[in-house]
């Protein structure tokens, strides 16, 4: 009996250790989540401004003929998939990757019809293992990525579109809804969907050197900005998802500890009772 008790005590101890870790991870994730949300917030003025200027050019001139604004017959599709580098984030990566696989499965028959730009170790390993065509990859991004960190992959994707190597570009990431809810999303990035131009805010700009050239300069930048803001949102989602997962793990650990403590006490009591009855029986036998 004593051995059983020791076993239970060991389990309680190890579960307590686990709980300590998951609790710490939850708190770290919460702090990072807040930081990433602020970062996503800070990135908004830039994206808004570019969009505003592009919309006013596109509405005012013949600029909307730019290839990035026009859809063409699709021969090859690009996907930018944003995943995390580390696990322990609940269904964060699994949900997104499942969604991507379903989308690809529905749309394409062969592997020649698409290419994947993958951000994050988890996604890269996933696609590598299943022999999906990876065009370019970025891993080991910091928790709060800078624009320069993904500039290369974003501009490579945009460049491929401009060179007509791909005819469509999709952005796959976990959209941040709230700290407890993230939605895997597949969004069309290029060709850019018709930008809504708010006529009241449209200005008559002077363009230097010309409206077309300004537009040609801005559109790739805008697309890259969209990738960056998606990345920031995905990072916020990641921390949110991790926070929830770790919160659940901590709760589960607490439950387990309670159950173990109960059975530990039961076993202890049983052992005492047994000892007493043995002593009593021994005393009775001698009398």
């Amino acid at each position: 009996m004593a051995k059983g008790i020791r076993e239970i005590r060991r389990r309680i101890k190890s579960t307590k250790n686990t709980r300590q870790i998951t609790k710490a991870m939850k708190m770290v994730a919460a702090a990072k989540l807040r930081r990433n949300q602020e970062k996503a917030e800070a990135a908004r003025p830039y994206a808004d401004k570019i969009q505003e200027v592009i919309a006013s050019i596109a509405s005012g001139t013949s600029g909307s003929k730019h290839p990035m604004l026009q859809s063409r017959p699709v021969k090859k599709t690009g996907y930018i998939v944003i995943t995390s580098d580390r696990g322990l984030a609940g269904g964060y990566n699994a949900n997104l990757l499942r969604k991507v696989i379903t989308t690809i499965g529905e749309k394409h028959k062969s592997k020649d019809e698409y290419g994947i730009f993958v951000i994050g170790r988890k996604g890269r390993d996933f696609f590598n293992k299943r022999n999906y065509p990876i065009v370019k990859e970025v891993t080991g991004l910091p928790t709060s990525p800078e624009f320069a960190d993904i500039k290369q992959i974003a501009s490579a994707a945009v460049q491929m579109f401009a060179n007509e190597q791909i005819d469509e570009l999709y952005l796959c990431y976990n959209k941040f809804q709230s700290a407890i809810s993230q939605i895997p999303t597949v969004k069309q990035l290029l060709p850019l969907e018709a930008l809504e131009s708010n006529t009241a805010r449209t200005m008559n700009y002077e363009y230097e050197p010309s409206a077309e050239e300004v537009l040609a300069d801005l559109l790739p930048k805008y697309a890259e900005t969209l990738v960056y803001s998606a990345l920031l949102e995905a990072k916020a989602s990641e921390e949110g998802s991790r926070m929830t997962a770790m919160g659940n793990a901590t709760d589960n650990a607490t439950d387990m500890i309670n159950r173990y403590t109960l059975s530990y006490n039961r076993a202890r009591q049983a052992a005492i009772t047994q000892e007493i009855s043995e002593i009593v029986a021994g005393a009775n036998a001698q009398a």
């Binding site: 800070a42 200027v53 008559n204 700009y205 002077e206 363009y207």
Partner: protein, 134 residues
């Protein structure tokens, strides 16, 4: 003297925000001096320092790369992929980048690398210029 508001914004944050009497920037079509009440204008910028003359004859230099400038009413907005104030510049890093770019230019590789090295050199020189002219 009339004034205008100036904002320098990157994808990460607002680098500079304040009032100014004049903004001098290098656009793709040439040097530009913007005074208050300029007509609305949009132009991409070259990799170069932007000079913002604030009130009281003070001048702030900002290293800007990959950006464009928008003037609307009494507001000048510079959107850039990277922008730094003199005090934020890592001089050692810029110096290293400059040496590296010069090295690459000397080796004369393929066209694409050449172009990249030129841009890198320009960025590094802009940063150093801004940092040394506080």
């Amino acid at each position: 003297m009339s004034k205008m508001t100036v904002e320098v914004v990157t994808p990460e944050r607002v680098v500079f925000s304040g009032e100014a009497t004049m903004v001098i920037a290098r656009g793709v079509a040439g040097e530009l001096g913007i005074l208050p009440n300029h007509i609305p204008l949009v132009t991409p910028l070259k990799v170069a320092p932007v000079r913002v003359k604030t009130t009281g004859d003070k001048e702030t230099l900002i290293a800007v790369s990959g950006g464009f400038l928008e003037v609307r009413g009494d507001k000048v907005t510079i959107l850039a992929e990277a922008a730094e104030l003199p005090e934020d510049i890592d001089v050692a890093r810029a110096q290293a980048a400059k040496t590296r770019a010069e090295q690459r230019l000397k080796e004369k590789q393929a066209d694409l690398n050449q172009r990249r090295a030129e841009l890198a050199l320009q960025r590094a020189m802009t940063r150093l210029f801004v940092a040394n002219n506080k």
